[in-house]
Symmetry: C2
Amino acid sequence: MMRTRPLKVALLGCGVVGSEVTRIMTTQGADLAARIGAPVELAGIAVRRPNRVRAGVPAELLTTDATALVKRGDIDVVIEVIGGIEPVRTLITTAFEHGASVVSANKALLAADGATLHAAAAAHKVDLYYEAAVAGAIPLIRPLRESLAGDKINRVMGIVNGTTNFILDKMDSSGAGYSEALDEATALGYAEADPTADVEGFDAAAKAAILAGIAFHTRVTMDDVYREGLTEVTAADIASAKRMGCTVKLLAICERTVDGRSVTARVHPAMIPLSHPLASVREAYNAVFVEAEAAGQLMFYGPGAGGAPTASAVLGDLVAACRNKLAGTTGAGESAYTQLPVSPMGDVVTRYHISLDVADKPGVLAQVATVFAEHDVSIDTVRQQGKDGEASLVVVTHRAPDAALSATVGALRKLDTVRGVASIMRVEGE
Amino acid sequence: MMRTRPLKVALLGCGVVGSEVTRIMTTQGADLAARIGAPVELAGIAVRRPNRVRAGVPAELLTTDATALVKRGDIDVVIEVIGGIEPVRTLITTAFEHGASVVSANKALLAADGATLHAAAAAHKVDLYYEAAVAGAIPLIRPLRESLAGDKINRVMGIVNGTTNFILDKMDSSGAGYSEALDEATALGYAEADPTADVEGFDAAAKAAILAGIAFHTRVTMDDVYREGLTEVTAADIASAKRMGCTVKLLAICERTVDGRSVTARVHPAMIPLSHPLASVREAYNAVFVEAEAAGQLMFYGPGAGGAPTASAVLGDLVAACRNKLAGTTGAGESAYTQLPVSPMGDVVTRYHISLDVADKPGVLAQVATVFAEHDVSIDTVRQQGKDGEASLVVVTHRAPDAALSATVGALRKLDTVRGVASIMRVEGE
């Protein structure tokens, strides 16, 4: 019953991921054909530098004219692994206009403007799939959109950036400082020459926006996501976490607010207990923890980046898009019917771990405790350590709105007896 | 754009899972409608005992005539949560004949006769979905069938039975023996009055058959799965595992054979290193580890049973089946094109941990080592412990075919100096 006319695929971009996609499509064509129900053919590959040597990539397929490729009219599916906003957005919408479904790994574009792209795909009755945009090879978008479509997701909390997890894991296991761990990540190829997108949390924030939108059936963009990177995390923070039976992870957290009338999305370093499943995620691995009303607690774990893992996600989407093309249908599109607004960081309910340098004299703890009480922030534990006339005070709060916690820290800074706030970190996962 | 005529759903069975399905369908109808694109209506519920009190289940929907319900002709999707082979197989095929898609949680039926059911669904152009049949709420069937459709899966290894994981976790954490741990599992509701299906590995074997078929695109039935339960696992085995830095889990393992020309599927207790992600799966949780060529190592974790988690999986499938009905299409059906045969247990390459009671005299180790060598089984480590004239010898082998390992044990039993084989357990996950 297999159709003999092949489905035609255009590939935009042939870097680490694109080369792997090409390799698998050319070496495992028979398997892909059997799973799709028709042969699938790579019809063209748009690249910027056609003369660069790419092992295993058929040179005759290369073109520098991506626009002409997506406009050919005979392309069934366009795979986009270029990244960035433009010219990719224009290329994708042009592909839709010419009847092609699109498989993309582009988190930045989806997080910036997913709604427009979904609407364009729907208008042209084609698919837009992007499993590879979040957590690499880990099946996550499809499980959230389809497997959990009959459930109510309350929280998505994950490690979605491998570079920063590698750095934090290194700091935790070796006691290294941030710069030293970053250097090692760079040397081993886990961090890029300019690591800003990773270490400042931009990459994770884009993924958080995508996950929040899907989980809560609403629209969340990159701008809605509160973001703190890990450049301020110190070896002392990690040591402090250890004393609490915790480790530090850069988390993307998407939640419903307490009243259920809005959602929040944020990325920041946080202490989590060693007993939490996310605590044992090592090196550059990713893992996402999902809490749903009926399903309970689920976790998805795997490699979050890399050529082959990302290609696996891209090709899974390619098979789905091709099957739909053959059946003359499309998969589920955007689901944003709840129209839940995104609340600011101040509304998030969390806990703070605060480390203060204070004067070593009587009454300091009473003063500090008063400030917490004035802001309606309840204290869970306090640990005092004296050292040569100075002392440090480590306070862990109970759960309170981030705005109240943040105001408390502001007021503490103004106390004469508080010489400095050595570190502030949120505590999650309890 | 929402259709106003509702899709009609028939529910077969209203026990723990069916009641939860009913509860969610009646309380979260608006969400389901938004996600499907049309309202969905529970049109009838077939039960054996209509007079039993079921909180939240509309009495007017109950019927004892399941056959008449699936034959009504206006049913779009039948949800089957009765379990067992007959009359369920007949009911499902009757539903197909009357144009209904089927969502089932029935591992026994799928593992016994999945091919026939898939063929019947395809013949009537309807869907057969069964995410709930394996690992409860954990999205697993859909990720394997769809997300990894462009990849080559080499191994699936998982904890797919919550009852036995609870028992082994209890034995590991408290030092309890098997019977004591089983009693506790029964008291807490984790084990049924007759625990045979769980503790003898039948439940896990059915799931292994389903997973192997999907992962390797071939047909695997319950009868193809090698099966050992955990009733022989002793507190001494657990202690032995601990000394090796391991824990004992009842694993379902589906692999390609070394030459790639066949597959194997098996369920048995095994020692796995504490560093393996499956080692930290506690209580009645399930987790499945998947190794794919491009994706690398993935893990899926969550509650493997229970009313609400299973209902979550059922309703995810319901949404998919309803969307397909609206679009006039069906999802991906059975994929068994590789036709890879299933090899017997003897062909599986694994490692043994063997504990022998031996005479405490010179030359015993040499005798024992000779038996291993004669069977081409290479020894990794040996530990000798003397106690009052007797001694114990613990041997851990390198990887070898199970047939060779098994023959080695047979030959060891015949040695005069071997007084008994205290325990044999496979070692996995390294």
